[in-house]
Each structure stands twice: as structure tokens, then as C-alpha cells.
Symmetry: C2
Subunit: 642 residues, 2 copies
């Protein structure tokens, strides 16, 4: 029987379980990456595991999120990450060297290898044929410590690309088409594999745009074959030795198939406020634009910015538009500065931002009130730009550049200057890794520097056999990680300071929750369906942990957040009878006896002493997770097995 | 009798008074500039004067302060300034076009003209022989409305520059030498005029570094002659028609004379935490550096950055240093992008920031906790960087660049690569003003857009004849404008929102002051000596005005803040007997009768009804100011005389 690319890579890395769809498996991780907003916590957790040196082939710590530095917190974090990386065998990419995914694919991506990153857009690496998966910081810490990564064996979706894109239509439009068809929920527990004739016409950065934004499908990851074009890309980076060919067997079996005819695609936009709210640009033409932003891990490659430079050459940005451009990496910026393209962009009136995530994560360049912003990014959730009532459209660099000139949403197909897209990709890219600091050979000399903003993460202890705590909050259905642990430009600098962050925990639902939790020395959260949906943010478990939360009793949990609760020793309990939810009141006293035994049996009876009723719950977790939660979380578990 | 340059310009612009040292005079203003953190308020005030079009030769509104945009407030302000400018005959420099002083000298500076700017570093324009003065936003609004600017006729200091700088010693070191000798108080009510052989060896940007940082002397302004070098500079900007020769008469009389022998100067640094705490670099060599920042209105010209690029060419920034570079203008950035210098900087590992003030005003790039930061900026006050315990050193671009490579403070004289300072200044600079929006010919069509963060500034009413209010706060000596109206990265976006800002008014002294003022419908402030020292920040008068403050009774006032109080209709009263200060308690009821008559007589008796005592005070203001305060402030006054 033939294998898909995904299966081939998983087979080569399988550590636990069997490749049966829907079953839990664990895979060995070759490479890890972190960015700084999740990284500080990941390294604090890695330190707690007491492993002297990472056990991966390569681990890289990037600084790309918190680069505005409006107080000492950011640079303190940078220095902590730099020193902890140096000590423990991790490469450190200095602020200014670029966005983790862009730099990683340029300098470190290896076809056929596995990459685990503490950022949801880690699948970018699929552009060079890696199996690249986004995960929580603690998962990455475990991988660095040599532990395998547990996932559900995914279904595999074949996306067959036929034909070739017309000029002005971009690879961004391919992924927008897939999003339009599959929606933001269409990728859950699935890997998207791109195959077919159309693949051959796409460069690695174009492929990476697609795998990057596969994250918006909710997919486990996306992957392209490794072929001549991959070889050419690696060669241009001086890394031809990293090449291995990788393709699906002719008789490989897929769970689902999609066909996209590239010839028929048009320029598109994801309209406010979801990446799957996709319309043709032709339907939107003429909409007045206040801001255009080019960059992010989705569209900040040399090719992307060369397109923008050629379109903008000799033109002037509309007087009513602020055009901001954030190149993806130092390599890209340096090459544009050498070949004159950057000068063209500046000449046209573009604002050049640092190489980093910046506006894509709401770190600066928030649009005006009710403003319209066209962005080559990946997400346009309401408020993500920092302006709650702004309308953000997700488009290709081509669409962004032509619209910046006209000041209204403009179709690139009809408006790109002749020859502007005839871009020759250099045979050799400029390689100068002098912003990547190598780890120390001997780690004894390295002192890890922790500024005052870097607080120890909250410690867990072994699961107690009796829990007697009050209900501190009762929340409704679909509570997101943004409710549990808000994230914005003001709070992001405190990602390494759980005591500070915890004062904002669940405050969008109840401003007095943190205070109440402290007064009662912790307690229990009661929730509706789909508790913890949204990002993989581990802080949504760490802040409750710090506040002494022992259990969350919910109608159902979002998958990643449930794992984060378990990893941090907090019990996720599911109502057997959902109507019990309505019987519980704020500050009810809840008692659980024989907790250890009950967890082992995967069922727990809670006595609501205030109401004098019994509430039956399920402990819907794997045997491995039972072990983890009994030991008080994944770090304790890792320390024991190491 | 011969005239100095200063006298020649004043004579040509004298509107009120006579050129007698120490007397009040008023001068006609040819040009104005605003930056955005003071600009929004200045334009709101200008609008209130109901003048349809500015009466200056040229007025320019720059965006250079609030460019991080971590929420909608900044871009809302930009759009307000853009539209109000367009309507009223003001040129608008878009964000990204550069720092006001750098752009103004490049594109608009005219020798012999007067320039009033709502930024303390407006004297930069003295580099091309302008009489360029920093003032409050309301002063600038008045100038735009055609009103003259009132100053005390200054003393004039002759600074004779002898000889020529040695390689590695910079014009920055000249002004550091002057600061070392004269201190930060040495320039009060004085203009510094640079003359002598040494002037001829200094380019316009080098002169501008000196006049810019003359602000740190507390000087009214500083000025250079307009000579062949000025002509050459204007020609390179395509503006030779703006040239006029300007020099002091041979028999001109100066009040003071200083001689600086350039041959004998060494590289220097202003050490923490004052610009006059100047030491030789040789005394500081080897100090470990965490951050190096090149840019700001002091040192971000083409010449400055070419020096840095040549020094850094082929080198790598120390692994422990974060080097950030913010070019002064689009012109500078564009030229560096065209000639390859920017590529050299990027290649070395520099982070390229937007063209703007940025880290110089604490808007980003705050150093780490207790970090050492070397900056080519102008001010190193404690905490200004955004990191309260950081040590900031003010140095030349040469010193900054060589130290960025070594990672320790390093003397440029001994360490600059051969030939690195042989920089040819292009005969023609790149002129593309496409980020400067021209005002509308017909202002009827222009709609001024005010986002929700732009609140009307508090209105004043005519002075009432009886005041009966409580003492809301009693503060000690030397209260600064930072106490009265704190300014930081979190509050700066609210400079156009006095209601929001007023909740922070005087909170560093008493967190309950704003609340107390609101509960009592306003009241009176009692203060010690030198109340309101520090910046020219008008918000330190506007926030109290919004809170209903009717009078400040102090032992003495700082000059600019006293003017700001008067301009906003708040009475500045000075204790006749300072011991009365100790007799007053918080919440005492203070009554002033016959206020109008008393102000006219410049004396006011306050009855402390709680203590049943009389307190005598002086109203130490000019007759013109009596008129202003009776009418309820300068805007009402302007409306009447227009």
C-alpha cells in the first residue's frame, strides 16, 4: 500500500501508537521553534524539567512579537531568552532578524523532518516539505527535552492543483479559495497535502503562503512535496545538502479530495471578520481604504516584496492611505536594500517597519476608528488589529499594492503595470546569519539573566485525594482563550509574568473573578459548551493555575485548551447531565472525595454541599493524561521520566 | 552700531516693543511647525479662533511622535491633523516622511526667517540661519492666526569656534562641550550665536545638531550664519532661491562670549541623567553596553547615517547589543536605500526603525532593566527611555557605531576604520515630496474628521469677580509638568483627549486629586517654589482647567507654565509672605472678592474662611496678560482682536 507524504513523515517519526485515523499517536520531533510571546514561558518550563541541553536536531528561539519595547519588559524577555538559549543548546535569532516562520524556512527548514513550534503558523514549514505543527509552549518544551509530541492521527486531504495562475492572481488566492470551500473548521484533525501539476508552478515562498494559512482551516498542518523547486530554493540558501525528495506514492490513499483549477481563480479577499468570509475582489472594488499593510509570516518573502516594489515603482501611495511594509526577514530586507527595490518602496511613500510580526498581532499600526485596512496577513478576527471596529480584509500582495496606489480596493488582474510581475529569483540569496547567536559549547559559563518581569511560572503539586472548593465563576458557552486570558498590546509584554496576567484572568466575563479567587484561595470554574476555544495560548491555563483553580466543570471543552489544563494539573470535568449546569450557583461549595481513584476510573462525582445535590461528571482523558494529571502536570511527569 | 544675526532677524520681524535686553517684545512669525503630540491640541485651538486660513508664509503639520499605533487613537489623530491642515492652508507631512526638524530644515528652512514650532527642539532650524523657537501649541496656533510671538528680548551669546575637528570628533561633541561649560540652565533667556573660522568647516546638518541641542541649555534658540555652505545645502535641496546671506556685523555687540577650540575637542558623552553631565569617552571606555540607538532630530541626517554605515560596513554588531537606527526623514532613508548604505547597516545586524522620533521620546525601544543605552539623541533624563533605572549616554554617531561593534563604550578617534569618514555629500539630494500633502485651494469642500479620541478642549469663560473654592491639593517645591500631567507611552496617545488625561492630573503627588476636583466642581492648587518646571507641555494647564481649577497659589512659578496658566485663564498667584503657605490646609475654603479690580492692580487678597485669615498675593503678569486673563484666556482674546 502506498503512503501519502504525511504518512511517510509520520512513519519515520512514530514513537507511540499506530497510524490509524483518529487514534492517539506520538511522533519524534526533529526541530523546534519558539517566538517570544510564548517562548519565555516555554523556556521557564524547559528549565523546570532540568534537562541540561536540548535533545532535538535543532531548536531556535526567535524574537518577532514583542519588538515595540514601550517599557523594559520586552528587552528583559529578549535577554532572558538569549541567555537561556545559549545555555541549553538553542539557537537565538535576535530581534530584527525576522519572523520565525520566514527565517526558519529560509535557514533551517529540512524536507521530511518534523518541526514543532509554539506558534499557530508553524505549518509554514510545510512549504519545504516539513511536517510542521503549531503547539503550546509546554509541548515545545517537552519536545526540546526529548519527549515525543502526541496528536490524533489525522485524516489526510488531497488538494490537487490544476493548471497555472493567471498574472495578478496569487498563491494567497489559492488558500483563500480553499478557505472559502472548507471554512475555518474544515481542517480539524486533518492534514492538507498539495499535489498535482499546479504545484510545479509555485515557488517555495508561494507554497509557504498556502501552508501558513492552512492554520486558518484549523488543520493539524499542510504540506507540499519536496521537488526540484524545493532543491532550487535550498540551493539558493546554500543548503542543497538538506534536500531530500519527497512525494506521495501513486497509490497513496486520501480521506478527502479537493481539486482547485488555478486557471479559473480570481483575486480574492477574506472579508471582515473571518478568514473564510471570502469574496472576489471584483465584488469589492471601489471600497475606500485607509490603510494597507504588507508583510506577516504569510506574505513577506523576497518574491512578495519584489512584486510590491515593482507595482509601486514610480507611483505614489494615495494621499489618504497609510501603506506599511514589514519585511519577513533580515535576508529579505537586505536583498531589497541591495537591489534597489526598497528604495522604490520608500520613494512611493511606503512606511518601512521592522522585520517582525508587528501589525499582524496588533503590535502597532492599528487602523483608525471604523477604518478599512487591507492586509496581506492571515487573520482578520474582529479587534485583532487593535481597533475593535475596523474592517480588515485579507488579500494578496498584488491586491494590496495596487489598492495602496488607488486608495480603493482594486483588482490587480486589470491594474498591474506590464512586466511588474516578471521577477527573477536570484540563484543565490544573501546569506549572513550574524543575527543568529549560536549556543555555547560549554554551558557552565553561561548565566541566565532574568529581569524583574520574568516571574517563575506557577508550580503544580501532585493531585490531592480530596478537593473542597467554592464555585468562583459560572460562564456561558463558547468562552474563548481571549476571555480567559486577554491578549493585547498592553498585556503581551507580560507573557512571562503570570502573577501580573492573572489579575486579568476571565475579567471580560467578571471583573471580580481574580480577586474572588485570591480571597478564597482558589476554587472551581463552571462553564458551558466549547470552553477554551480559540488560540493555543497556554496562559489561559497558567493564570487559573496561579489563582488556585483545581477543576473546570464544563458541558464540553475545546481540544487544545483541555490539553493545556491537563498539562498544568487542572481537572477538566464534563457534566454527564448538562442540566446540572443550571443547578449550580456562584459560591456553592463543591466537594470531591477519592479523587485519585475517580480520575483512574474516568468518572467523578461532585457533591454540591450548598445545594445538597450530587453532580456526575466524566474525566474524558487518555491513560497517559491520567498519569500526567496525577503527577500534577506535564513538567512533573517529564522530570520523572527523564 | 552693528547687529548680531539674532538682532538682524528680530529687527526685521519686530511687531511690539523695543530690542532692549530683558524687555517683552513680540515678533512676527513666518513659518510654524507642529508635531502630532502637541499638534492635535494646537489645531483644536486654532479652529476655536475661527480663522479660515493660516496667515503665515508656511505652516507644516508633521506626524513623527505617535507612530506606533497600538490602538486607533494615533491614526485618528493623524487623520484629524491631515484634514484640519488641508482645510486651513497647512502642509501635512504624512507619518513616515520623517522627524519634523529634519524635514523642515531639508525642505522648508529659509535663512533669516522666523519659525515657531510646538516642539522644544525647533531651534534645529538655526542650522540654516533661521530664528527658530520652540513654544506651546497655543502659541503656535496664535502665530498661525497671524498673532505675533511674545518673548523676552534675549541676551546674545557669541560662541566662537576656532580650528577644525579631528577625525572621530563630531559636531555633537561641540555642543556637549558647550553644555559642559554652560550647564542646562546656562541658556535661559539667551540666544547662542555661532561664529568664527570653525563654522566654515561644519555642514548644515552638523550645525543643526548644535542648534538642536542648544535646547538643552535652556536657550531661547541658537543660530548659525547663512553662508556658502548654507547656499550649497539649499542648492542640494533644489532650493537655492531661498538663500539669503546672513552674518553678524563686525562691530556687533554680544552679552557674553565663549571660545571653543575644535582642535582640542575629544569625543564625549553626556552621562546619566543630564545632558550637561559630560565626560570624555576615554573616561568611560569599556563600560558594557546593551543598546545603541542612532537617530532623533539631533543626529539622523544623511551625513550622520553615512558615517554609521561606513563604520559598520562588513562588521557585525556585538551579540549582546541591540542596535536600532531611525533615519530622520524619507529623503535620508531613500538615499541610503539607493546608494547601498542601508544595505550595509542591515548587513551588520542593525534594526531599522521607521523615520520618526521613536525611542528618543520613549516611544518604543526601551532598554532592559538597569540597561546601558548609548544614544545619539539629545536628552537622557531619568526614565525618559521608558526604563526608569536605565543608564542613557548621549553620544555622537561615530561613538555609537564603534561601540555597537565592540559592545562596550569605545573611543571613535582610535577605532574608526580608515576612510570611513571620507563621505562625499551629493550635489543633489533626492527630492520627492510625495508624502507632503498640500492644503486645499478651496477649503469649503474639506471635512475635518474627528475620531472619538479627539475631544473638544476645555472652554474658558471670562474671569469672574468672585471666586469661592476649596484647596484641592497642596504640593511642595519643584513640581514639574511631569507631575502635573504625566507623559509616557501609555498616555501620549491621549494628547487630544483632555477628559481622559485629566484623570491622571497631579496623580504622582496625590492619586485622589482628579476625583476630589470633580467632587468639588473645581478649586484651587497651593504650591511651593518653581511650580510647573520642565517641558512646555500645555496639557499641564489644560487638565487643571478641565478639572475646574481657578487659581494656583504658589511661592513661585516656572516661566512657561505660568504663561500656559494665563493663556488658559487660570490665575497664577504668588504669596507675598511665603510663610502663609504653611498656614493653609487641604480643603480650606478660599474666597477672593473684587477679582477683576484686584487683577488690574496686580494684587489679590485671599480670605481663608476655614482658618479665618487673610493671605496676600501678587499677580505678577504683564498688562497684555491681564487682558488675556480677564477675557478668559488667549483664545477668547485672539477671537476678539481678529
Amino acid at each position: 500500500m502506498g503512503y501519502t507524504i504525511t504518512e511517510k513523515i509520520i512513519k519515520n517519526h512514530l514513537a507511540v501508537g499506530e497510524m490509524v485515523r483518529g487514534e492517539e499517536i506520538a511522533i519524534k520531533i526533529d526541530q523546534t521553534l519558539t517566538q517570544d510571546s510564548t517562548g519565555t514561558m516555554a523556556y521557564l518550563q524547559f528549565e523546570a524539567m532540568e534537562v541540561p541541553r536540548v535533545k532535538t536536531n535543532r531548536s531556535v528561539a526567535y524574537i518577532d512579537h514583542n519588538m515595540l519595547q514601550t517599557g523594559p519588559e520586552n528587552m528583559d524577555d529578549h535577554i532572558y531568552i538569549q541567555t537561556v538559549a545559549k545555555k541549553h543548546g538553542i539557537y537565538y535569532s535576535k530581534p530584527g532578524n525576522g519572523i520565525c516562520h520566514q527565517v526558519n524556512i529560509e535557514r533551517f527548514g529540512v524536507p521530511g523532518q518534523t518541526l514543532l513550534g509554539s506558534d499557530s503558523h508553524t505549518p509554514t514549514g510545510g512549504g519545504v516539505g516539513m511536517l510542521a505543527i503549531g503547539a503550546g509552549g509546554l509541548d515545545v518544551a517537552v519536545a526540546m527535552a526529548g519527549g515525543p509530541y502526541y496528536i490524533t492521527m489525522p485524516e489526510i486531504v488531497k488538494v490537487e492543483l490544476k493548471g497555472k495562475l493567471n498574472p495578478g492572481v496569487a498563491s494567497k488566492d489559492i488558500i483563500l479559495e480553499v478557505l472559502k470551500r472548507c471554512t475555518v473548521k474544515g481542517g480539524i484533525n486533518r492534514v492538507f497535502e498539495y499535489v498535482g501539476e499546479g504545484v510545479k508552478s509555485l515557488t517555495v515562498p508561494e507554497r509557504a503562503t498556502i501552508t501558513n494559512m492552512g492554520a486558518e482551516l484549523g488543520a493539524t498542518t499542510s504540506v507540499f512535496p519536496s521537488d526540484d523547486i524545493t532543491m532550487q530554493f535550498l540551493k539558493s540558501q546554500g543548503r542543497e545538502k538538506d534536500f531530500v525528495e519527497l512525494k506521495a506514492d501513486p497509490d497513496a490513499k486520501y480521506d478527502l479530495e479537493i481539486v482547485v483549477d488555478l486557471n479559473e481563480l480570481q483575486a480574492m479577499a477574506a472579508c471582515p471578520h473571518s478568514p473564510d468570509n471570502v469574496k472576489f475582489i471584483s465584488e469589492l472594488e471601489g471600497t475606500k481604504v485607509n490603510q494597507v499593510a504588507i508583510g506577516s509570516c504569510t506574505n513577506s518573502s523576497y518574491l512578495d516584496l519584489m512584486k510590491a516594489a515593482n507595482i509601486l515603482e514610480g507611483k505614489t501611495v494615495s494621499e489618504n492611505v497609510s501603506l506599511v511594509i514589514a519585511p519577513g526577514s533580515k535576508q529579505v530586507l537586505n536583498m531589497l536594500a541591495e537591489n534597489g527595490a526598497l528604495a522604490k518602496l520608500i520613494d512611493s511613500g511606503a512606511r518601512i517597519l521592522e522585520c517582525g510580526c508587528g501589525p499582524c498581532i496588533g503590535m502597532g499600526q492599528s487602523p483608525n476608528t471604523k477604518g478599512v485596512s487591507l492586509r496581506t496577513f492571515n487573520r482578520n478576527f474582529k479587534g485583532r488589529s487593535g481597533t475593535v471596529d475596523a474592517d480588515v480584509y485579507i488579500v494578496s500582495p498584488e491586491t494590496a499594492a495596487v489598492s495602496a496606489i488607488t486608495g480603493v480596493i482594486t483588482d490587480p488582474v486589470k491594474n498591474i503595470p506590464v512586466g511588474a510581475l516578471d521577477i527573477e529569483i536570484p540563484e543565490l540569496f544573501k546569506v549572513n546569519d550574524n543575527m543568529i547567536v549560536e549556543p555555547a559549547e560549554d554551558n557552565n559559563d553561561v548565566q541566565v539573566v532574568k529581569g524583574p518581569n520574568i516571574k517563575p511560572f506557577p508550580k503544580t503539586s501532585v493531585l490531592e485525594d480530596k478537593i473542597d472548593k467554592k464555585v468562583l465563576i459560572i460562564v456561558e458557552d463558547n468562552i474563548t482563550t481571549d476571555h480567559i486570558m486577554p491578549s493585547n498590546a498592553k498585556l503581551l509584554p507580560y507573557r512571562s509574568n503570570i502573577p501580573y496576567l492573572s489579575d486579568y484572568c476571565l475579567t471580560p466575563c467578571d471583573s471580580e473573578f481574580p480577586e474572588r479567587a485570591k480571597e478564597n484561595s482558589g476554587g472551581i470554574i463552571v462553564a458551558g459548551h466549547n470552553y477554551g476555544q480559540g488560540s493555543s495560548r497556554e496562559h489561559a491555563a497558567l493564570a487559573p493555575l496561579y489563582l488556585g483553580i483545581k477543576a473546570v466543570v464544563a458541558k464540553s471543552f475545546a481540544r487544545i485548551h483541555k490539553n493545556n489544563l491537563i498539562n498544568n494539573g487542572i481537572l477538566p470535568l464534563v457534566f454527564v447531565d448538562e442540566s446540572d449546569y443550571d443547578k449550580i450557583s456562584l459560591m456553592d461549595e463543591m466537594v470531591m472525595e477519592n479523587v485519585l481513584d475517580s480520575v483512574g476510573k474516568k468518572e467523578m462525582t461532585i457533591v454540591d454541599k450548598t445545594k445538597d445535590i450530587q453532580i456526575k461528571t466524566k474525566v474524558d482523558i487518555t491513560d497517559r493524561q491520567i498519569d500526567i494529571i496525577k503527577k500534577g502536570g506535564l513538567i512533573n511527569y517529564m522530570k520523572e521520566i527523564n
